[in-house]
Symmetry: D3
Subunit: 303 residues, 6 copies
């Protein structure tokens, strides 16, 4: 045990000065109150509860018995929904404060957001069943749907994305982003919660995949590791800061397969049924049923 003193008083005082300076610069002075941001730690716990409630006999507790499945689902959902309600409420209040918005309908708004989320859970489960099936059929190494659900990072990322996307759509972008980054940290798959993704979506291996905020992906699309659906350019404003919010990521139509390492940039369209080969660098639209490889892309298709 250390016997010297670190002169903490001085360090604490200087750290406070540094914080106050930052807060003054960013208009964040406050006299009192408590932390006002959603919590990554609590959202992680909640997503684990939700996963268990959606797939009880596979992602639920290992001692769950068939007989008490509904009891478990009901009790777990209640805990998860209330926890999400609290996080969404924190975000709504925080955004209002940032925007100088003085109205206070946040409680009702948060309740409505969570109620709709709850009501959609059965159809969410159905959509996720479709994703699991796509993974099972899409990977020659998969031996059962259960292996896919338990093990595949691509499936884990899609479960989290479909939940995150809901919260993105209803205006809880920070909660959505935290959910997305939890999956990113677990899997190396980085799907912005704004991305719109159709049915039967599968990412194999997955590490290094990046899917941007305004990407639109059709049904039955399959991606491999290190695929980027990114932005081509980042226009800057007068101050040199990048502009926010424009549609800038690809549209990938139904039944497309994109092999590992392919990079697809800009608001272009990959036509229905196309196959994009490994490591392909694509910055212009391609028509339906295109088969793009490193070899044939040299001579086109992009100017």
């Amino acid at each position: 045990m250390q016997q010297v003193n670190w002169q903490l008083d001085g360090i604490v005082t200087q750290l406070r000065a540094t914080r106050e300076q930052w807060r003054a610069q960013n208009g964040r002075e406050r006299e009192k109150g408590c932390r006002e941001l959603p919590s990554r730690h609590r959202i992680r716990e909640t997503l684990e509860l939700l996963s268990g409630a959606i797939f009880p006999m596979r992602l639920g507790p290992s001692d769950l018995r068939k007989e008490s499945e509904d009891f478990y689902v009901g009790h777990t959902l209640d805990r998860a929904l209330n926890a999400l309600h609290e996080e969404v409420l924190l975000e709504l209040r925080y955004m209002a404060r940032l925007n100088g918005d003085k109205t206070s309908e946040h409680q009702a708004a948060a309740t409505q957001i969570i109620q709709r989320f709850a009501d959609d859970l059965p159809s969410l489960r159905q959509r996720l069943d479709g994703d699991v099936m796509a993974a099972y059929y899409g990977d020659p190494a998969a031996r059962s749907v259960d292996e896919v659900l338990l093990c595949y990072p691509g499936v884990h990322a899609v479960i989290y994305h479909r939940i995150a996307h809901y919260f993105y759509q209803v205006g809880a972008g920070l909660v959505a982003r935290i959910i997305a980054e939890l999956a990113h940290s677990d899997t190396g798959i980085d799907i912005h919660p704004g991305a719109q993704i159709g049915e039967g979506f599968f990412i194999d291996h997955g590490t290094g995949v990046v899917i941007g905020e305004t990407a639109i992906i059709g049904n039955r699309v399959r991606l491999y590791q290190a695929v980027t659906l990114g932005a081509k350019r980042f226009p800057a404003d007068e101050k040199g800061h990048l502009e926010k919010g424009l549609p800038r990521h690809p549209i990938v139509e139904d039944d497309v397969v994109i092999y590992a390492g392919a990079t697809i940039l800009g608001r272009i369209t990959v036509g229905q049924g196309s196959v994009i080969g490994g490591n392909v660098w694509l910055t212009c639209s391609v028509p339906a049923k295109s088969n793009i490889t490193q070899a044939n892309i040299q001579s086109g298709p992009c100017p």
Copy 2:
């Protein structure tokens, strides 16, 4: 605390209906019983115990003393082996149920699997010592073998892979896959448990590495980040589903070095002592002592 009701009864009922529909479609109806799948959470705990038992003074508890090393190893092994026995038993029973297999020799089979695993532990430790040495000599930034064992994701991934591969070989593929995906999540290195890997194997940095199920890797091979040893094509059956189980990944012979981002696809052979440069895209076999770079691959060697 939320004062509204979420109408949970209805949601729980619909979720059950969704589950029952899925189960009916997949032949999974059951009246009773409990969760029957291995548990990712328990397998993680067990692998941490095993790592400690294999490298007690470096991966064991931080207060371990030399004097009680054997006591710790023995007690920890017992816990780990029994835990693994339970998970393997769960998998054998689960597979039998899926396959309609009515025999019930699972208990004895699981015991035999674990006993052999236990008996092999000393030689496993020796093989891992070789991997650690390969990492130490293979990275100019490494300053001690202990730094390598404590810190290097590539070493972590190889420890887990050698354990996972054993379980893959003896027919506990789900347990094996869970072990592999734990390492994948920790390190971004995705080695299918089926891959056969020789002695003195080292992966540096590692994020984005993918090694497929039927890959065969010789002795003293060194890989860098984002290397793919993958399949070239995925033949589909009549229904459009991918065929499972064929040899489809590369054979990498002894003393090969493969630099970052290289992609090697298909059942080809990289000859002994070859060096594959960064970002190289290789889809045909190369003879021993080849030196393949992006520059020289343009004009060959693959048609």
Copy 3:
């Protein structure tokens, strides 16, 4: 519960023999004593404490109140500094033992290392504020500085790197490396603690980024996922082992942007204000304000 015996006595004896053989080969025989290496687990806990102390209202406990901010910061710093002191002391003693160094000024040396670290914390916070701002302005999808700090893996990696780099500089390279690998595991971003990084640094998405030990990065640099700042060649000594310690990674000057998947190798210089396009493979220096793309690199600039 398993009713067979695993014959643990024999396995434990053989494992000991294996360990003793390894220790004899590596000069590590000891009669007594305890584990002598820093602990990844304890360092993780400590870094979480430190992050909370540096950004209390955003990365601190979710129930922290403004009124007790300084109390929390002071108490948390004390815990974190003492914990770091213990880990650094373990490393200094361990290195001395490895080197046969008999002096015993480790306690004082460790204290001095931690005191300087503590004194630098306010300026560390300022530098990190600059990194957060760089992330906010650098990503069109970012909606607030708080979102950036809570969610962005690139910001997380930079916080950990700036701490790791300090310990690297003062000779606690193992502690430094453990901190770096914690961030690597969380984010897929692999920054060697030796890398020197200027102000306002931002990595977007981040998975697959590798920055080598001797890299030097200027101010206001922005990287995207899968960028490598690596070594070109690894000269081997007479025994075939790689030589350690030489400057071998790029110098990236101020205001450079490097897009996803670019690979920059060797002790070359990327001139001030340059833009390196996605997937570019660069092995020679480029002057200030260069704009390098896959297209224009074909015809140069590197021979």
Copy 4:
């Protein structure tokens, strides 16, 4: 950290010799297998689950909401019943081994015991409601039934006793005793699980109360701290060991009040409606409506 060795090998060897000697003397030699006794720790957790399932909004989790009450009760009961089933099964097998009983109907017997317990839970809850009411009316300091249920050690002891008594009756005496001793440790109230206790029972303060195995207590009885309902004599067998199993504790009829420190010994009867004063020492039966005090007992009633 300690640098000497404790010579553990020798101590461990001697401890084993001591255990083996004890086991040989007690006929407990075994070659293999695992712990075979119920676990105090697991039973404590289970009783806390059960208490929550019986009084969900008062002893259940503090964030329980009315809407999910039944879900919580069902899921919690399932966990508690299965855990109790396992403990009872351990006890039945252990008793059979002690008794040299080779039959193996333990699984079915344990199931039957737990099923009956489960079926009786609603009537158990009603009986406990009566006990809570008795406490509320019996203590002038009580301000609500909820205070009584949350705070009163006497109520806690009665909840545990009514559960323990069930297990005592059906032959799981060790599980029963563990439950009783958990309450004893929490409250200082020592009720043997064999004691038969009527409705509306209340113990105020409670520390030091002892109620023996064969005691019989009527309805609406009230006790205060340090009351003993004990045995008068302990007849010894020829070896000087005490004889086991005889009725040897008092019968207390309906509506009796026994004040603090009273000692009532032997198989005597305290008649209906009697009041036994503080510190009274009573070793003979008293008729209905007796009012016994230290003063009037001097001159009788016992010879």
Copy 5:
């Protein structure tokens, strides 16, 4: 794992029916909402925080350093005060609901209660220092004031009582009672939070001590185990229920010593400086400096 079903649906339904019946009888029907009572578990955690904040270097965390004492105290107090605020608020709302009180000033009332408690902490610490000294001087076996503070159940009980009594006085009787029962369970010492206790109070050994709600104890009083300061009679109302709230316990003046097992009942006064011998049964007042033993009490003093 159990393979039978417990028929949980039926049991859950019946348990609900039982609860609803009880709620109807007690006027507790509610459609929604959550648990509304203070939590024993949370109050236990909070009292441990408070004890640490009051005696930081002795009851605080074992790694606390002098330098960060104030930081620890401030941060811990903040957590404890906010937690107590929440519990008190729960109680105020609960009492209002029970009483049909529709006003809603509970938030402000709870804040005022906690603010006053916080302001009184320094003087509480001084009073507790006096109690510790009384224990040190009062027990010939005590070897240091620190041993007394760390080990003595009597000191633990007094710390908790002085806190509980504050909450009793300000109308948070349920919070107060929970605090008192926590100490009762830990120590076997049962002090009703209503009891008024002067300075320098010491209870040795303590098990079985009972001090009633309306007892008044002067300065420098010393008690031993199993002492009762109780009520003599419990007058019942017309329905036979005991009347609540009357002064009914003894007044013990300054400098009195009461030896083990003494029972003192009713609103009587034990005069200043008296000594009450072990096992004495006292039901009438005695003048100052009385020396009452079992021997001399036979011939008086009580009629």
Copy 6:
């Protein structure tokens, strides 16, 4: 979450002033350093480890298997001995500081204390086996030796006492006292660690038993609940403080039985084979084979 401020700065400042005042009065001023007292929490954990190491298949972990018994015992002992070593060292240093003792042989002294304790463990186990047997034969309700070891508070208290007494004897009185008070809190049995207790000792029920520091108890003694072996008088010194350290508690010879509630005070001797009845108040010696009851003590034996 609370929105007001508690004015913590002022409260923290006043609490520091109060502490400094106390420290000045008690000669405890220090500029730096850390907590220097043994920790109740750590000692509790250690005693649980020790109990498991002494009775592995009954008080050890519930999944312990026979095969790894010795491994468990060895590893657990090592943890427990090192932990005890640390606590004893803290106490020796603390006592030296209190006494102004400047020598620094504490490390060696603590090592010697623990080594002797370790060497005595096998004979401690044998003595405890004798206590367990005494309990089994001494209670007509006991059905197996295992029930006695798992459930009986009297056995728990004796295990802890025999360990505490060792530390008392070797000068670690604070560690000893903490161990004793842990058992006191668990069982309501208060045995001062100084008490000397012979073989085959049994306390039934136990709540309220008090055994003083200088009591001496022979072999095969049996006590019941609420028995006191206490001091008769507490001589005070000139300042009115009680004198410390004199022999002042009873000597109880072999084969004595003392029934519930008996109070035996002063340095008197209860002769071999005597029986002391319930509630007897005894303050003078009685010869061997006495049979003392409340009835026959009236007319003697004490004057």
